[in-house]
Structures are given as C-alpha cells and as structure tokens.
C-alpha cells in the first residue's frame, strides 16, 4: 500500500520527537534545576505511552476496520523498548553510576523498582523476536503467545509508576484507566469468541483469526 510507505518514515520520526525534545532542552540548558530527574521521568513516561499506543493498534484496527494499521504495531512496540532502554540506562548510569551492588539492593528491596525492572525484562524477548524471521521460526501461534507478555509488561509499567509517586496519583491512574480499557477490550473479544464457539449461531460470520494480539 502506497500511503504506508510514505507514512512509515513520518511516524518513525514522530516517535523520535520526545527524544529530540529532550536533547534540545539539554543542549539549550533548559532541563531545569534537576536535569537527571527530568530525563528519568520523560523516558519513563514515553515507555508507558508507547506500550499503550502499541496495545491500541489492534482495537483501533478492528473497530475502524483499517487492517493496514497493523503494519505500524512492531515499530511502536520497538519504540516502547527503545525508551525503556533509555529509562533503564538513565537509572544505572546517571542515578546509580554503575554501582551494581546498589542497583541489585534496589531491585530486591524497592517494590516499585522490582516491578519496573520486571516490566523491562519482559520486553527484551519481545524486541529480540520482533523480526519476520522469528515469527517464522516460532510459528504464528507460539509467537503470538510469547508476545502476549506485553500485557504484563504494560501492567508492570503502570504499577511501577503508581508505586513511586508520593501523593498525586492522577497521572498513573490515567495510564491505568487507558490500560484497563485496552485490556478490557481483549477480554471482551475473548469472551465473545468463546461464547460463539460454544453456540455457533447461523447469523454470526466465521471469524478468521490472524495471528496477532
């Protein structure tokens, strides 16, 4: 499809905009009084946002009947991983200065770091197996099963945010609400398909499940 070939680089660049904005602020000395905190928050925010964007592709595609949207999903997922890596690097480099002992104590003792780190680890196999070759090697069904890990990664990300704020939980709750909607859609679709497969009604169209989450 022609528009996709045009849109892909545009969306790719748009996905880099948050990083560009951060870099520009750093270059022009506008990262405020506590630059490392700003970088940590921005990269963390965008990890969660890209996870939510990735998870919204399938519902959006089905509800609007625009199947071509699926072709952006991998890119969004990889950007979630990309910002997650930046967030993690900020933590081990700028916050812990590669003091791995301190880092391990943190991961073991601080539940918000435990859950955030878990969410990040879950993304690694997904990023590694994101290529067409890996879909072939694993087979559609198994690949799809593996990639459902993104649900748990996103849940972990939102809990990580919810557990780290001091008192104002408005923003993490907004993310939680969006995530609940996106996962709720999948539960609804799953329940519907189960119901249909038990009592096939003559009116229902046969559903062709393509391998995707």
């Amino acid at each position: 499809m022609k528009p996709i070939r045009f849109f892909k680089p545009v969306i790719f660049l748009a996905c880099l905009a948050p990083l560009a904005a951060l870099a520009w602020k750093a270059y022009s000395g506008n990262l405020g009084a506590n630059p490392i905190e700003v970088i940590t928050h921005a990269t963390g925010d965008w990890t969660i946002r890209f996870l939510l964007i990735t998870l919204s592709v399938t519902p959006l595609r089905k509800l609007t009947r625009q199947p071509w949207l699926i072709r952006f999903r991998r890119m969004f997922g990889l950007f979630a991983f990309f910002y997650g890596v930046l967030h993690f690097l900020t933590y081990i480099w700028l916050d812990k200065f590669f003091n791995f002992h301190e880092m391990l104590t943190d991961i073991a003792k601080r539940r918000f770091i435990t859950v955030g780190f878990t969410g990040f680890l879950l993304l690694i196999p997904l990023a590694l197996t994101s290529t067409a070759g890996w879909i072939r090697r694993l087979g559609g069904k198994r690949w799809q099963m593996l990639h459902r890990l993104i649900y748990f990664s996103a849940i972990a990300g939102v809990i990580h945010y919810l557990w780290l704020v001091k008192a104002d939980i408005r923003k993490p709750l907004q993310y939680a609400a969006i995530l609940a909607l996106l996962l709720g859609y999948r539960i609804f679709v799953w329940l519907q398909s189960r119901f249909k497969s038990k009592k096939p009604s003559p009116l229902s169209r046969p559903t062709i499940e393509v391998s995707e989450g």
Partner: protein, 319 residues
Amino acid sequence: MLIKKPADIPPSDITSKDLYLNRRKFLAGAAIAGTAAATGIGLRELAFPSSLVEANAKIDGIQKSSFNTTEKITPLKDVSNYNNYYEFSTDKYGPAGLAKDFKTRPWTVKIDGLVKKKQELDVETIIKMAAPEERIYRHRCVEGWSIVVPWVGFSLSELIKKADPLGQAKFVEFTTIYDPRQMPGQKLPVLDWPYVEGLRMDEAMHPLCLLCFGMYGEVLPNQDGAPLRIVVPWKYGFKSAKAIVKISFAEKQPVNTWNKAAPNEYGFYSNVNPTVDHPRWSQAKERRLGEFFKRPTLMFNGYDQVASLYNGMDLRKNF
C-alpha cells in the same frame, strides 16, 4: 452662543474606593517596573507588577550568622523554580508561575493553644521582633535532592519567648494558609489541607530552627513560602512549613500532614538520617542540584549540634 453647562460627574466616573486604594499599588508597581526596565528585567516579569511590589525587595540590616556553611550556594534560579509546594502544584516547576500573584499582605499569624495570651500578630510585627540574620543552610529533601540556601530570618525561639507558652506546652504546631482560590493545588485532595507541621518544644527552641522571611538578601519569593515560613535544616524539607498563618502550642504531639498521608513513610521527627531508608528509596545519598555525582547524606544533614536532642531515642523507630 450656547455654553454647555458641564454635567455633574457621572457615577461611572467616580473612582471606586478599591480602585483608589489600588492606585498606590499601581504607582508602586509602575515605579518598580520603571527601575526593572532600567535594570533590564524581562517583560514577562513586568506583566505582573502586583507581585513585584513584594518580591525581590532587599532586606536591610542583615547580620552575619555563625551557623553558616561555606559550601557553594545553589543558584537562586534553581531554588526559586524547583519547589515542592503542593498547595500550588505537585509539579516542582509549577509553583514559580502559579504563586506569582499570591497575596502576602496583609497577613496575620494567630498565636494559639497553650499560651498566656492568645493573639493575632501582623507579619510586619513578627519580622521586627529581632534583627534579620543570613543563615546559609543545607536543605535536604526527603526525595533525595539537596540545595544550599542563604535564608534570612531569626531563631524561632525569639518568637516563642514573646508568645510566652504555658509550662505544659510540649509541642509547637504550624499551620499553612488554606485558600484554594489562590492556591489551585488545594482544590485537589492530594493531601489533607491545610498543611500542618510540628516540632517538639526543644527542637523549636534550638537556635538553628529559623523563622524565615527572606532568602538571597531579599524578601522570600512566594513559591518559597512567603511571607513567613520555618526552616529546620536538620530535618527533611517537608518539616519546614511555608506560608504560616497559625502557630499553636500543645501538650500532645501534633499529627503532621505527610505523616497522616503515609504514616509508614513520613514520621513526626523526620530527621535527615542516611541509615534509615524511606520504605521506597534509600536515603544514603543525595543529589545536590547542579552536581552530576551524588554525595553521601550526612546524619542530621551535618548539623551534629542537634544530636543531644535525641539522646536515648531510637531514631529507627522515631523516624
């Protein structure tokens, strides 16, 4: 020739009393705006003359203090733009803008509770109770960042002596103003407003405990707690209540706002202590604003002279 008789002044032309009174403010604002323009202050600041009337005014006769640290002072720009002041916003970069028009005059402080004479004092009266001193203190936030600030004020003990508390008064409680129209953060139930903090009497009487109305030689900016706050340098920042309207003396330990919000995370004492972690993060190190590497946090934030206040107390339990 018809000479038109001048009509009576139409009512709409009569200056209202409010407007008349504001005229002075406007003139003062204009005068300051003029000097500001001459000294090269940006247009954005000129757009808010009302706040300029109070802010940035020099405090005269500031005396040196023996409590000063010689560490590098954090730039004013950082101290006045990075504020944990939830009454205005939970975003640290929010209060600087949102507090611009906050009214700090007229302002009175109620002296309440177990005192010989309950009274309401004008802030100007309080400020004149003792000579202003510059106190260059380390300030450590519970979140793990720190700053060095040249505060202006005098020991809180000066006020307490004049307030004349009764013998059974064991604690002092500070209440921040509650005014959601001026403080948008108070419209949200993030904390149980108004903000309340407290100190044990001996802590409040310690000469390090500062009653503060200025910083960097000038009147305290609104976002830093104007017109009157306390500064308790050996405790985490949230113990230092801002924009105080009531100082009350009590026999029982007050319940401070953060303690009420999360009792297992924020204690009443909240002394800076690198060996007692916040349940969600370590307190062993801190990031001094403007520095890249973290530095170790010091016991009592380096103010060892207060250690004797806590002799025989388990600071792990009384965190």
